[in-house]
C-alpha cells in the first residue's frame, strides 16, 4: 500500500474508532481508551530507537514526564492550545533525546540502557527540586469540562488528540521502515561497524532515532496533566511507563510497526480491564507474565506468528528483489 493510501486508511480507522467510542456513549471508554492510545504512541516511539536500531531505552518515563512538566510550566507562563503544547512538549523531549543521544550513543548494549535509566532519574530529581512546576508536592492542572474547539467533552478531546498522534506515529514508523532511513537503522542494529563501512552515517542516524523517539514520547506525555489533573514526580516518572513501553513492542514484535501497535492494544487493554475488575496492582504482573511467556513461546512477538520480521521465514520466499523493485518503482 502506498504511503498516501495508508495514511487515508489509518485516518479512516481512527475515525471509526472515535465514532464507535462516541456510540458507546460512556465516559470511561474515553478514559481507558486514552491510556491505551497513549501506550500505542509510546510503544511505537520506543520501537523507532529500540526496535529499528537495537538501542534499548529504559528512559521512557524521562521523555514522557519532561513533556508533561513542560505543559505545567507553559500553563503557568502562557496558556496555549493543547496541540501547540503537545508540539512544545515534543520539541523539549526531542531535544532531550538529541542531547542524551550525543552523550550516550557511543555506549552500547546494557551500558546505553543504564545511561537512559540514569537520565530519567536525573530528570526526576530535577523536577522534584523545581518548585515552579510544583516540586515534590506536585502540581494541579484544571481540566476544562468542554473544549471550545469542537464543543465536545474535554476527555473526548484528549482521546481524539491521542488518536491523531497514534495515527501520526504509526504513519511515520511505517515511512521509516520503507525508506533509506529504515535500511540504515537496520544496518546499525545488525552490525554498526559494517554499517559505517557501508557508508551509513551511524552517529547521525542514531541521533535522529533518539530525537524522533523522544519527541513522540514527549508528545504523548504533554496532555498528561490534563488527563490526571494532578501531576507529581513519582507518578509522572513511574518506572511502569518504561516497563510497559519496552514490553509492548517485545510482545507484539519489534521488526515492524504492527508489532508495537498490537502489543500496546493487547497489554494496555488487559491492564485497563484488570484495573476495573481486579486491581491496578496486577498491571505490572500482567506485563511480566506475558513477557516471560512471549520470550519463550514467540521470540519474534505476535507479528512473528504471521511471518513478519522473522528472518527464518523470509528465506526462500523470493521476495527481496521484487521488494526492491517495488520500493524503487
Amino acid at each position: 500500500m502506498r504511503g498516501k493510501h495508508f495514511l487515508l486508511a489509518a485516518v479512516a480507522v481512527a475515525a471509526l474508532v472515535f465514532g464507535a467510542a462516541r456510540l458507546v456513549n460512556n465516559g470511561y471508554v474515553f478514559f481507558a481508551g486514552y491510556v491505551v492510545l497513549q501506550y500505542v504512541v509510546l510503544a511505537t516511539a520506543w520501537n523507532i530507537l529500540g526496535g529499528y536500531t537495537g538501542y534499548v531505552n529504559f528512559g521512557t518515563a524521562g521523555f514522557f514526564a519532561l513533556a508533561a512538566y513542560t505543559t505545567v510550566a507553559l500553563e503557568k507562563l502562557t496558556p496555549l492550545p493543547l496541540p501547540v503544547v503537545m508540539l512544545a512538549g515534543g520539541l523539549v523531549s526531542g531535544l532531550l533525546g538529541l542531547g542524551m543521544g550525543y552523550l550516550t550513543l557511543r555506549l552500547r548494549g546494557a551500558f546505553f540502557s543504564i545511561a537512559t535509566l540514569a537520565m530519567a532519574v536525573v530528570a526526576q530529581t530535577f523536577m522534584v527540586n523545581w518548585s515552579f512546576v510544583g516540586g515534590s508536592s506536585g502540581a494541579f492542572a484544571i481540566r476544562p469540562p468542554r473544549t471550545a474547539l469542537f464543543g465536545i467533552d474535554y476527555i473526548q478531546y484528549l482521546f481524539l488528540l491521542m488518536l491523531g498522534l497514534a495515527v501520526l506515529v504509526i504513519v511515520v514508523a511505517r515511512l521509516i521502515e520503507r525508506s533509506r532511513l529504515g535500511d540504515g537503522f537496520a544496518a546499525i542494529r545488525d552490525d554498526e561497524l559494517a554499517a559505517e563501512a557501508s557508508g551509513v552515517p551511524t552517529l547521525r542516524l542514531k541521533l535522529l532515532a533518539t530525537a524522533l523517539s523522544g519527541a513522540f514520547m514527549g508528545m504523548a506525555g504533554a496532555p498528561l496533566p490534563y488527563y490526571v489533573t494532578y501531576l507529581d514526580p513519582p507518578s509522572a516518572f513511574s518506572l511502569a511507563y518504561a516497563a510497559n513501553t519496552i514490553a509492548m513492542p517485545l510482545i507484539g514484535g519489534t521488526a515492524s510497526w504492527p508489532g508495537p501497535l498490537v502489543g500496546a492494544l493487547l497489554i494496555a487493554t488487559m491492564q485497563q480491564v484488570a484495573t476495573v475488575t481486579i486491581s491496578s496492582a496486577v498491571n505490572l504482573l500482567i506485563v511480566g507474565l506475558m513477557l516471560v511467556a512471549f520470550v519463550i513461546a514467540a521470540p519474534y512477538g505476535i507479528i512473528g506468528w504471521f511471518g513478519i520480521g522473522r528472518p527464518d521465514r523470509r528465506r526462500g520466499r523470493k521476495r527481496a528483489v521484487p521488494k526492491l523493485r517495488e520500493r524503487d518503482a
Partner: protein, 241 residues
Amino acid sequence: MSLLLEVSGLGKRFGGFVALEGVDLSIGAGERVGLIGPNGSGKSTFVNCLCGTLRNETGQVRFDGHVLNRLAAHRRTRLGLARSFQLPRPFPSLTVGENLRIPIEYVVHTRGLGRLDVPARCEELLDMVGLTGRADDLPAGLTQVEMRKLELARAMAAEPKLLIADEAMAGLSHQEVDDILALLLRMNQDGVTIIMIEHIMRAVMQFSQRLVVLVAGRKIADGLPAEVIRNPEVERAYLGE
C-alpha cells in the same frame, strides 16, 4: 600512474603497546598491493586506521587528494575507500540483496550522480561474485566462501576506487582461494586498486604487483614480490634467526 593513497608517518598505540610506528606507504591508482606480516604485526590496525575505524595518533593519510585523518569511516567509504572484513560481517536480518542495497543507497546515491536501478545493480554484483539468484537468501544460509563473496560484493557495491581485502581467503579450500583470487583480479581489471592482506603466500605472490611487509608495527620491506620474499629481514621475521 597517479597517486591514490599516500600514508606518511602513521602511528598508533594501545596504552604502552606500539601497534604502528612511522609507517609510510604510497599506492598508485590501479595497483595490486599485497600486505603481509606475522600475526600481531599491525596489519589490521593499519587497515582500521586507513578506514577510520581507529584514529591514528601520528602521521597522515591522504586519499585521492583528501586528508582523511579526522574523517569518520562512512565518509571515507563515500570518498571511495572500501573494505571487506577479516571475519565476514553481513547484516544478518537482511537478505543478500538488501545487504548490497545499503552501500548503494548510502554511498552511490549520495554522490549526486543520479540514482541507480538498485535491483539491477544488485543482480549485476551478485553475478560478478558468483552468487546469481541468491538475492533473497539470508546470509545465514550461505557457505563460508559465499559469505566472503557477499562481503566483497558489498564492498564493491560502494563503487570504490580502493578496496582493502582483509584476509578474504582465510579458512578457504584451495579451489575456493582460486575463486576469490580470480574475483579480486577481475575487480582490479575493472579499475579498482586493491590492497590484499593475506597469509596465503601462494595467493599473495600470484596477486601482488608489489609486496609490503609489516613487522611489529613497522614497514620493513616494500617492493617487487620476488625480491621482497628474499629480503633477509623478511626471512628473519617469518622464519626467525
